[in-house]
């Protein structure tokens, strides 16, 4: 009998404490978590590896989350990967930019662990 490998989530945030909270929440639900501190680091990973879902902040140095989503959508292996934006940004204009870039959904920080897991479960 083969054992299914855990699904992998790429968590992108420039705040180390936020990455810790996300990692703790996702690993507790059985996901494997790969972390990146900004869009550039995430994109570098994505060019050589694949994940089942991307969870990204918006405001980060070097490359913001919306640009990251847009760049990832140009990669063949990320065309259909769910991408959730997790941010303090709640403005409609920014949300629309995220949607146009190819984001799957928008979550306003602070996240509730149960709701975050339920949302990930819905889009995976």
């Amino acid at each position: 009998m083969s054992v299914a490998s855990p699904r992998t989530i790429l968590a992108v945030d420039d705040s180390a404490s936020m990455r810790q909270m996300v990692r703790y929440t996702l690993e507790g639900a059985g996901y494997k978590v790969v972390q990146a501190a900004d869009g550039v680091e995430a994109l570098e990973f994505a060019r050589t590896g694949t994940v089942d879902l991307v969870l990204t902040d918006v405001n980060m140095p070097r490359m913001d989350g919306i640009s990251l989503v847009r760049e990832l959508r140009t990669l063949h292996s990320y065309k259909f990967v769910p991408m959730l934006v997790l941010t303090t940004e709640s403005g409609q204009e920014t949300k629309q930019r995220g949607k146009q870039a190819g984001a799957t959904g928008w979550i306003v920080k602070p996240f509730n662990p149960e709701q975050l897991l339920a949302t990930i479960g819905r889009v995976l």
């Binding site: 705040s15 180390a16 404490s17 936020m18 810790q20 909270m21 990692r23 703790y24 929440t25 507790g28 918006v58 405001n59 941010t87 303090t88 940004e89 709640s90 403005g91 949300k95 949607k99 984001a103 799957t104 959904g105 928008w106 979550i107 306003v108 920080k109 602070p110 996240f111 509730n112 662990p113 149960e114 709701q115 949302t119 819905r122 889009v123």
Partner: protein, 192 residues
């Protein structure tokens, strides 16, 4: 400690004439710079403390998960005696950890907002040094627009709007508390 009497302070003599390098604008810029530096220093200090706190928290939370796994593997004859109580205790801790995960995220939000305040203070310090700008209402409008563009959270935008509409600090805080309680977007989820 007795309060210093006006005009008698050694550092602020009443009749001292301003030196050539003394200017209101320079004093304002220096004072704003002082505020920004104090804030930066306090944030750096608290960042280290919070990072340590989060490491400890996640360590404890991981241990709690391990205990849950151990509990699940207990032989039935042992578990029969303690199962309900143990499961209830573990469920209570899990719930508290969930609340802590939410609470920790507010520090991240605080850091972000204070970063905007620091930038605002630095921008204002530069602005007040140029009398040609400070005398022009449209330059103030431009400055406010620059500060407004920094804001990422609903709370920051609310405070900005209330203050620009002429509310006092106190009224702004009270008004914001009322609107935020009713319209908070924290935790909002939208799937496209």
């Amino acid at each position: 400690m007795a309060a210093p009497q006006a005009g008698t302070s050694a550092t602020h003599p009443v009749a001292a004439a301003p030196s050539e390098s003394w200017a209101v604008e320079r004093q304002m810029a220096n004072t704003l710079g002082l505020c920004e530096t104090q804030m930066t220093s306090a944030l750096q200090e608290s960042d280290q403390a919070v990072d340590a706190l989060i490491r400890i928290f996640t360590g404890l939370a991981d241990t709690m998960r391990d205990l849950g796994a151990v509990s699940a593997r207990l032989p039935p004859e042992i578990k029969a005696n303690v199962a309900d109580d143990l499961d209830a205790q573990l469920a209570a801790i899990t719930k508290q950890i969930g609340s802590a995960v939410i609470a920790f995220q507010f520090y991240d939000k605080l850091t972000q907002r204070l970063g905007h305040v620091r930038f605002s203070l630095a921008t204002l310090a530069q602005f007040v040094c140029d009398p040609a700008q400070t005398q022009q209402p449209e330059q103030w409008d431009r400055l406010h627009a620059t500060l407004r563009s920094l804001y990422r959270t609903q709370e920051e935008r609310e405070i900005f709007q209330l203050m620009m509409d002429g509310a006092s600090h106190t009224a702004s805080n009270e008004g914001r508390c009322e609107t935020s309680a009713a319209q908070s977007t924290a935790g909002d989820i939208e799937l496209f």
